[in-house]
Amino acid sequence: MKRTFDTGNAAITEGALWAGCRLFAGYPITPATEIAENMSRRLPQEGGFYLQAEDENAALHICNGGSLGGLKAMTATSGPGFILFADPFGWAVSSEIPVVIVNSQRVGPVSGITGAPGQGEFYLSRYLTHGGNYETIVLAPNSVQDAFRLTVRAFYLAERFRTPVIVLADQMVTDGWETLQTPESEAEAREMGLERVERRVNPGPVFYPASSDIDIPPVVLGHNTGAAASDWTPTDRGHDTEDVTWQHKHAWRLIHKILDHRDLIDEAQTWSVDDDPEVILVAYGTPSRVVQSAVEAGRAQGLKVGGIRPVSLWPFQDALFSRKAIYLTVELNWDGQLVREVRRAAAAGSEVHFWGRCGELPSVAELLDTVRQLQAGVALTRDAWRTEKW
């Protein structure tokens, strides 16, 4: 095992390389630029291709094209670039092309604050393109080591589900320095629970079967299989059609290949949730680190508090919220995004509240004060996702 002290950006780079990524196309953007920089140095050493695209839209299109030609590919960005993925993300979803997308979230809206962490793309990562009729896989790391592991996982899921997978990080995860362990052998990789699948080629002539199965090889060009990949509604052979029956089959496959195999995707961390918590703190990404500390500190002080960290964000894990409790989501935004989903999923009779801020994390003390208020039935100044007056 190799132990280094490094950033989340480096962890994502090494995770991608271990997973077999051989193409990175990106456009410089704070705070994801270091991923591109690391890739520009590391990829050629591994025989891979680094490209600086003319914009993020082109970057993901280039990755899509490389993947369509058989290369594992990745791009990385932050909010203003992420929104430009709408077009190629939809293309990859619909054409069922594996590709990995990293978003290091910063503070928005739009260009916002470049060098501070935000969590404004929770819903955008679910609905990154138009038209509906699809499901999305989104994974959210909360540490440097986790960024490595989940990048590897993203490539693994992308290949098996033949779809784009988003790693939804934040500026603190990607810029933060921590210990990073990487495997130096396949045995070590297995020990660490890392898995990868090699790219396979769909032999045709059925490229888009009416099936929710995973592990169907994706369409790959260049093998004279009669491959057809496009943004049009495909027949099973990939021919364009205006027929709603084919469209229904297509949408059903896009949705159910993911929903029917959630066991491979769903992942969460919980703290003291089986120990009769009254208040459960909920967070993903970096804020979940504070939540963990708050639960531990709160329990030490005798507070009945628990914590939930969804690691896979989409498809949303409703089952995590089946216990009747007082939930408090902790988010790096002022408008409350995760809270809306928890409100929808929480067991009947639950209360769901929101604690949010941009650019910096809450302190453990702040969270525990809020827990005490909620336990005492004191109304929070903030009602759900409505933020308090400035």
Binding site: G47, N57, H61, I62, G65, G66, A227, A229, D231, H239
Partner: protein
């Protein structure tokens, strides 16, 4: 094109295809197949991509071999990635429209030309946005009536008034650039062959008549004979020509072999890094 050629290259379910009766796109498509045939290329030698609009949609998945279609204007970026992954000897041909190449996709097109990525972009130019019912575009002759220029198109376009979008493509770094009308069969096929053989970025603009919209709206007829007469009348031989003619035709630039091809250069660079011949800072 004989039926043999159609049988050889075109998927049976896409023959005769979905273009309107009398559409010049069929002839344009035929020119590309003729060039492929004359070069002795088979189904497995070519990967075929398309854009959006009549020109892209009607030629999508017609090729019996491997095919793909990009989102509107982005197929040049998509094809850049495809090119990186494909073996260099595979020919990569894109058939796209004037809107796809010169409007929504111009940015990506110019960057593919800048890099000299090995692909042949065939712009099937139907002089405007025809699949949406006939609106003016950047190659619509100034003065033309269309559904969105009921008083006659007055915006400067990319091909008249001293502008030529193909000069822009050449300046960006393309290594073969030409313009023909579909009626100039021999010259068009000669250029297409040169373009396909070029191990670099080639663009051939092939102007063809849309009978349903451009013919009816701008020329007042869908009679193919009369439309072709207008085309002949508006065609000037020689790219510097033009004058009062709409279509200055010929080879705009032949720089085949004069610039390194991008993916080959990138492979060479990667090999040098792996061999330790270049070090990072």
């Amino acid at each position: 094109m004989s039926d043999d050629l159609l049988e050889k290259y075109v998927r049976p379910e896409k023959n005769p295809g979905t273009a309107c009766k009398g559409c010049g796109l069929r002839l344009a498509h035929r020119r590309v197949l003729e060039a492929i045939d004359q070069l002795g290329l088979g189904q497995g030698d070519v990967v075929w991509g398309t854009g959006i609009g009549c020109s892209g949609r009607q030629t999508f998945v017609t090729w019996k071999g491997d095919t793909f279609a990009g989102t509107h204007g982005r197929v040049y970026a998509l094809a850049t990635g495809v090119r990186l992954a494909l073996p260099p000897e595979k020919r990569l041909i894109l058939t796209v429209g004037d809107g796809d190449a010169f409007t929504i996709g111009l940015h990506h097109l110019l960057h593919a030309a800048r890099r000299n990525v090995d692909m042949t972009v065939v712009v099937f130019d139907n002089l405007g946005y025809q699949s949406t019912g006939g609106q003016y575009g950047v190659t619509t002759p100034v003065g033309s009536r269309t559904d969105s220029s009921p008083y006659g198109a007055w915006e400067p376009n990319w091909t008249e008034g001293g502008h030529d979008v193909l000069r822009l493509v050449r300046e960006a770094g393309a290594t073969f650039v030409a313009r023909h009308t579909v009626l100039q069969g021999e010259a068009a096929v000669t250029s297409l062959k040169r373009a396909i053989e070029n191990r670099g970025f080639s663009l051939v603009q092939l102007v063809y008549p849309c009978v349903t919209h451009f013919g009816v709206q701008a020329l007042g007829t869908r009679d193919l004979g009369r439309i072709y007469d207008w085309f002949r009348d508006q065609t000037a031989e020689g790219v510097a020509a033009g004058g009062d003619k709409r279509f200055a035709t010929g080879v705009v630039h032949d720089g085949v072999g004069k610039r390194p091809e991008f993916t080959e250069a990138l492979r060479g660079f990667v090999a040098r890094v792996q061999n330790g011949e270049v070090q990072h800072g």
